[in-house]
Amino acid sequence: MSTGDIEDVETFRQRARAWIRGNLAPLPAGSGIGVMRAGESDEAELAAVARQREIQRMFYDAGFAGIAFPREYGGQGLTADHQKAFSEEISGYEYPADIQAPTFSPCAAVLLDFGTEEQKRQHIPAILKGEELWMQFLSEPSAGSDVAAALTSAVRDGDDWILNGSKIWTTGAWWSDWGLVLARTNWDVPKHRGLTVFILPIHQPGIEVNRIEMLNGNKEFCQEYLTDVRVPDTDRIGEVDDGWTVGTRWMFHERMLHNSPLVTIPADGARGTIRATHLVEIARDAGRLEDPLARDLIGEGRMLDLVTHALQGRLSRGLRSGRMPDQSAAIGRLFTGVTAARTTTLSFNLAGGASAAWTDDDGATAECGNDFLLRQVSCIGGGTTEMARNVVSERVLGMPREPAKDRGIAFRDVPRGASNRG
């Protein structure tokens, strides 16, 4: 990155502040709070996504889209500090929440790392304008945490590849445009060596998108069935059979989302979380703000917020300077998962009896029971905390790896469930 001739962060911050206040609506109190709460209706969700595309376009036109993206792809060519300033200034105002993850990171981040020049020129500017929303076709119904055990296959056919299989836990696939796909291209080598990454438009013949209902009525996750989907070889990302190199980086970007210079996440936290300021609202609406036990829980929530933020900063600096190995990102994933689950418990406890039964008039205490039902989402989504613990102990601390029955043998011969167990 060039130095010298870029706008200094403070001037940029002032410019961003003025623009945000002049163009974006303030968010109502408590918006975006809770653990994956169910939306009002499909129409409302589609309208919200449309508004987010519009805001992203406004960012682009005002020179705030892709703050740390290279200028040659339509970005601003500024630094992580500029992005951080923008994220701080946008706190409390509407922002394109659903476009940040996974469109900007990990998807656009992977494109920047591994895409061809042509791929980057085609997609990055469109992403920055809000014209393309991307999703991860990564997890599979049969694989759970074993991401490299993907069964979705890609078979070469002339200049194309033919994809078959099923992907799952794809957020918002029904209203998104493009998918980043991990597929198996070679069954005769160990699992990590036979994968390849592709990109494809989601809405095309051969792709059936089914929505999954979560236990609280939320339907943002989807499962897709791919039947003979044709992908040109020019839409391949990285080398054939080297998809795990891409995939490792892909998951790194996913774990580092909250530190990524590529995304706008307001300084007061991502959507779908319970923040300490909200714990105050819950306690107040439950009539127990003066209770020392309640204040202990509020203080714990805020403590965890502050510590999480400090930890993410330390990891981010350590990874950037190379003082920490890349795999240290798993430390952040583990800590944020456990912490978010704990904070959900705090809100459940603060809400008291309103966790059992409530009306919409109960204010911040409403829905705390439902949030608690979904508590473990923070320890499952984006890779389970158990996987993160393995990464920390094995890759960061260098402890012996768990024995695996699939190491060193062709994926074709790996046991995959009771039915084909030798």
Partner: protein, 379 residues
């Protein structure tokens, strides 16, 4: 600890590390358990020459920072103290030196010079015994009588009071919170030693029965000490947190090494997933503790508006997770982890004691709640 030290900070770290390794190896620390003061006068004097007591003191008083952020520099030394379970009144001496430099005026310049040289020891009389032992409660009275101030009440625990020549005492008068610097040989001042869990730090209960000091003993304004006391608390918490994180690091490193070397059922402990997952959790707490400790240090050093909640978050988090980490290290060591012979307890003692000093995690969580409740007003 900071991920990157500047070269001058590295000099301080290195000199402190080398000095502590030479002077107070763990065998020496074990022998200190029967020592009345817990450290030797010449040990502290030489340490002061390395800069242990001058980093929070203004240049015109003979102090000065290394990097421009003296408190951050001091955490570099404090971390080494924790890492080696080293003795010495690092917290109280620095807190008093900072106070005398900031608001002590000319009257206390000689005492301050002694603290900088390490020839004098001063302690910080902050906490009070039950039922006044809640964070920040002050019942000790200081009454103005003519040219004198009369003190009545009890402070406890007071670190190193047995070897200190001076105590900075917080009392309450008609005008409000007041601080005075009291020589420990003042008539009416009684210092009674207490027992404690640590091998290196000594604490006393200090009783003031109509103890009289001249008005010149005032530190700051009569009745105007609330802000300076809050500042002192923040400084103490930052130094203490950095020490605790050092002790956590030492115990963690020692236990990781043990897990690689100790075999059970024909394989190293480090190969068991149950233990690996616990090490991963500990590693996440440890990095988080480093992060919040450093964040609090720079916020307090810069006197930024979020300093009160950050420093309480550091104390609450490190107090809670520090002792959990240490006890997990004991558990993974098994029986040997609860012996006097093994080094682990030196660090366990440090974090256990630090957890209990200057406000428990629960008290600091409630303090944070008070801040977060008014967060919107601040924004």
């Amino acid at each position: 600890m900071l991920l990157e030290l500047d070269p001058d900070q590295e000099v301080l770290r290195e000199a402190t590390a080398r000095y502590l390794t030479d002077r107070v190896p763990t065998e020496k620390i074990r022998r200190l358990r029967n020592d009345v003061s817990g450290f030797e006068a010449d040990y502290w004097r030489a340490g002061a020459e390395l800069g242990w007591t001058s980093l929070l003191v203004a240049e015109e008083h003979g102090g000065g920072s290394i990097s421009g952020a003296g408190l951050v520099d001091l955490t570099v030394a404090a971390h080494e103290f924790g890492l080696r379970a080293a003795p010495g009144p690092l917290v109280p001496t620095n807190v008093v030196a900072a106070a005398l430099s900031a608001v002590g005026g000319a009257a206390h310049e000689a005492v301050l010079a002694g603290l900088l040289e390490g020839t004098a020891i001063a302690s910080w009389g902050y906490a009070e015994p039950a039922p006044n032992d809640r964070l920040g409660t002050v019942e000790l009275t200081c009454r103005v009588e003519g040219d004198e101030i009369v003190l009545d009440g009890v402070k406890r625990p007071v670190e190193s009071a047995g070897v200190a020549q001076f105590l900075l005492v917080t009392g309450r008068g008609e005008a409000g919170l007041t601080q005075v610097l009291v020589p420990t040989d003042t008539p009416g001042v009684t210092v009674e030693p207490l027992r404690t869990v640590d091998l290196t730090r000594r604490f006393s209960s200090v009783r003031f029965d109509g103890a009289r000091v001249p008005a010149s003993a005032l530190v700051g304004e009569l009745g105007g000490a609330a802000e300076q006391v809050e500042r002192q608390l923040q400084l103490a918490l930052v130094i203490l947190s950095a020490e605790s994180v050092g002790a956590m690091q030492a115990a963690f490193d020692m236990t990781v090494q043990w897990a690689f070397e100790r075999y059970s059922f024909g394989r190293p402990l480090a190969s068991y997933q149950e233990l690996k997952h616990r090490f991963a959790d500990m590693k996440s707490w440890l990095e988080a503790a480093h992060a919040i400790s450093d964040t609090a240090a720079s916020a307090v050093g810069a006197e930024s508006p979020d300093a009160p909640e950050l420093v309480s978050a550091a104390k609450a988090f490190i107090g809670e997770y520090g002792v959990e980490l240490l006890q997990d290290c004991v558990q993974i060591h098994g029986g040997i982890g609860v012996t006097f012979e093994h080094d682990l307890h030196l660090f366990l003692r440090r974090v256990v004691l630090d957890r209990a000093l200057y406000g428990t995690p629960a008290e600091h969580r409630q303090r944070i709640a008070g801040v977060v409740e008014h967060l919107k007003e601040r924004a």
